[in-house]
Symmetry: C2
Subunit: 507 residues, 2 copies
């Protein structure tokens, strides 16, 4: 749409939104600094800084002027093509405005403050490996989230309201169906694998790997998949790996290191760089507009999980990656061949930590969290009993019980700030990643051979064009059809998992 | 003052100010990140983020409600003691409000944008060592500053308006007098020293010092003077060393390294940590109030220069510092004794870089900048001729001419963002530091012996109590009397310089 046809109200809406977008990015900068650089003593003031920005952001976002502009632009919106940037911007603004006007300012501030305090208490509880130190803060967080859900409104369960913020248009019932499909085929597969004598020797990855070498390896890996670490990005360390964006030209990823286990940092690097590629792929012309974001948590995770797993843990890419890792860690890896490496990084075993879980058991970790969130929000499980409930469910799903809360209920950062609908994005991401990969392959049939050479550009370009280029113009169920021609389905993912692991485990 | 006696309007004023203070700290965080961590590509978006926060900050600060609250609190202010926190808060709010209402919002935004763009152009011009690449941006910065000065209002020269923002109550004429006093005694002293065969051998400090060792040395030094680097602070690198504060419990310093010259990083560390100690010394109860800041640029520099020079370059502290440096750099320093080190770090020679200049010539660097700023703002020197004017004046004052703009007009960060009244704080800081030190000594007569042991607590405690504890409750001419019992005088500083350098150079 040429500018000439845009009404003046549209320009005014965009100029109001530019401030909103700036403040959202400022919040991201405050969070990035808090997690990567801030000295401990800064926590109290940082909570104030964030609460103030959050309050102003909420005021701007829920300003009655935006409501009136949206009303007066309704006929314009009806005239322009659904797929136009302008229509996407108006839809995205409407969603954000509706959400903001439903949640009162006081609640937004309360959410920001309980989140800041919670994060710092969570850090201390982790040091003590003791959930009970965090339970009081988490109760306050849950109380706030129940109020937020009530303000947003829901029919069936508070979680529906929170889920809609992450996956617009999706219901908890849809996810129950999806998790049911996965359970039906993943649980028998996992069981068969557990019964096998372990066919994958993981000795190669459980050795002493010095941290400077791990840094070098991680940077090499993220560069090889095409993440821009120089002019448009950077990498740091944090307690919990994450990625964040302040513009497509300033995208930051983090990792963490384990001295005796290379994959912890290496695949966290690839995971976060996958997110980062999505962030770097949002068109710069969308900057400061309502569609400058990613489509949904699920689509974000589809990019991280695609580069971490479908590429990073593939036999093809291993042929490229391993020789480069050998140069950095000759002592540890010179005697390791590709097949051994491939099996080691794809070893399926029940384990405590979600971010280190294999692809077969990973979704069980998510189901567990999803169910606990539903139960706590609905009042069926009390916060103070959450560590016990976690451990019991863990035993039920994975057959093992966490020896302490650090590798149990305290492991993820998510609940330190908010609670509810926090994790389903990872499973949706797994499912979407396979559907995208399946769609990209016929367009670039030589992709597997290219990955063996460390050439990731075909896949990156396909996702740039079919996913990243749309920013947040579409809701997830629209984008999956646009990108793959089909609605969301668990089939490609389950077929991928079954064929990969039947091969590895000779089933 | 007990809270009970505070009118409700006072509480409202404080709650409005809390937001202002938060946003000022957010600006500082955005700036810190820009200078230490941001990838180059992030510059365009960062300029937007800062302009938006700056605009909101200006709106909050110039809100008519603040004006009405100040009016209705006038009688309360007249009743309470001048020295009370509350009276100080009302005076500080009045100054900030008057300033903010005089400068229109559009100009504030223009200043923020020209500053962001200028900073990035300055970085590029530095790489090319070519001022002409930066001249266009600097012209725009100067234009904005002239407009700002006009909006603030002045009698004699635009620089008066800008000076009042840094040193409330001070006039350019006062500074001309002060610089005249200094010139009268420093120029003859420098001349005599230059005529001498150089009595200070600086070979010891001009050796290869590896960067990790310089880091270690710098952290040791700043810890030894009492800067809290752990819970309440951190250190990083940047193109231009600086310090900043987001709360007294989150204070950040930076340095830069030269491979073949240890003092560059070491004394920058001490300088910035001196600032940092002031920032960490502001009472936490002043957080989010109008007196949460330091008194003035001059007082800030008094703290940095005191720790860098009166302590860091003293014979006494050298006795403590050198043995610790020898442990880090045994090859370079094992044969160097305290007297050699002391003379090397106090060697007086004409040099190009202000931050590396010795104490005798340092103020000549400041005079040069002060005069050029006055001339440019008054239209007597054109921006495009500034590099030439710089070099000519440098030759006149210091007898040498910069070989390129990087070690000439492009060396300081200050003009990359703003222009005018940028540098006099350093000379004021020198003068104030000596006056403070002279006042602290009779209270703690064994201070010199304590410094020999690396025990800096007596001096730190004295400055905590007599300077830091007041935040920005008083204007500089009040604070100097409060702390030392006397008005500002160049005597202690000139006596200190003359006695120190006559001793070193045997004059």
């Amino acid at each position: 749409m040429p500018d000439a046809k845009r009404p003046a109200e549209f320009a005014e809406l965009l100029s109001l939104w530019a401030e909103v977008d700036d403040l959202e990015n400022v919040m991201s900068i405050l969070n990035w600094d808090e997690q990567t650089k801030m000295p401990k003593g800064g926590a109290e003031a940082r909570a104030d800084h964030k609460a103030t920005v959050q309050r102003i952001l909420h005021q701007k976002l829920s300003s009655p002027r935006i409501g009136r502009l949206l009303e007066s632009l309704a006929s314009y919106q009806a005239e322009i093509p659904y797929d136009s940037d302008e229509a996407g911007m108006l839809r995205a603004t409407r969603r954000a405005y509706d959400r903001a006007t439903k949640v009162p300012e006081a609640l937004v501030i309360e959410m920001s403050r309980t989140g800041s305090n919670g994060f710092n208490t969570w850090l201390r509880a982790r040091e003590a490996k003791d959930f009970s130190l965090f339970a009081g803060d988490l109760e306050r967080i849950v109380d706030v989230m129940v109020k937020v859900a009530g303000a947003l409104g829901y029919d069936r369960t508070p979680m529906d309201a929170l889920l809609d913020q992450r996956e617009p248009g999706m219901k908890v019932a849809d996810l129950e169906q999806l998790f049911g499909d996965l359970r039906g085929r993943l649980v028998p597969l996992a069981k068969k694998i557990f019964e096998r004598v372990d066919a994958a020797d993981s000795g190669a990855i459980h050795q002493a790997y010095d941290i400077p070498g791990q840094w070098k390896a991680g940077l090499m890996a993220v560069r090889s998949i095409g993440f821009n670490l120089d002019e448009y990005g950077r990498a740091d360390t944090s307690v919990h790996p994450f990625s964040t964006t302040f513009s497509p030209q300033d995208v930051r990823i983090t990792t963490r290191f384990m001295e005796n286990y290379l994959p912890a940092s290496l695949f966290a690097f690839l995971h976060e760089a996958g997110h980062g590629q999505y962030m770097q792929g949002i068109p710069v012309r969308f900057r400061r507009t309502p569609i400058s974001k990613q489509c949904s948590a699920g689509f974000s995770e589809s990019q991280s999980r695609m580069w971490e797993n479908l590429v990073g843990r593939s036999r093809e890419f291993s042929k490229y990656l391993l020789p480069r890792l050998r140069e950095i860690f000759p002592r540890q890896l010179s005697a390791v061949d590709v097949e051994t490496w491939y099996r080691a990084v794809n070893r399926v075993r029940p384990s405590f930590i979600r971010v280190e879980a294999d692809e077969v058991t990973y979704n069980l970790h998510i189901m567990l969290r999803f169910e606990l969130e539903k139960d706590v929000l609905a009042g069926r499980v009390r916060v103070k009993d959450l560590a016990g409930a976690w451990n019991a469910k863990f035993k039920e799903y994975l057959g093992i019980e966490p020896p302490n809360d650090l590798v149990g209920v305290l492991q993820d950062i998510h609940w330190s700030r908010q609670f509810g609908a926090s994790f389903q994005g990872y499973t949706l991401g797994n499912v979407i990643s396979a559907q995208l990969f399946q769609a990209a392959l016929p367009v670039n049939p030589s992709m597997p051979e290219q990955l063996e050479q460390g050439n990731c550009s075909a896949l990156l370009e396909w996702t740039r064009k079919n996913v990243h280029a749309h920013g947040s113009k579409f809701v997830p169920q629209e984008l999956i059809v646009k990108a793959t021609g089909k609605p969301l389905s668990t089939e490609p993912y389950l077929n991928y998992i079954e064929s990969k692991y039947r091969d590895i485990y000779g089933l």
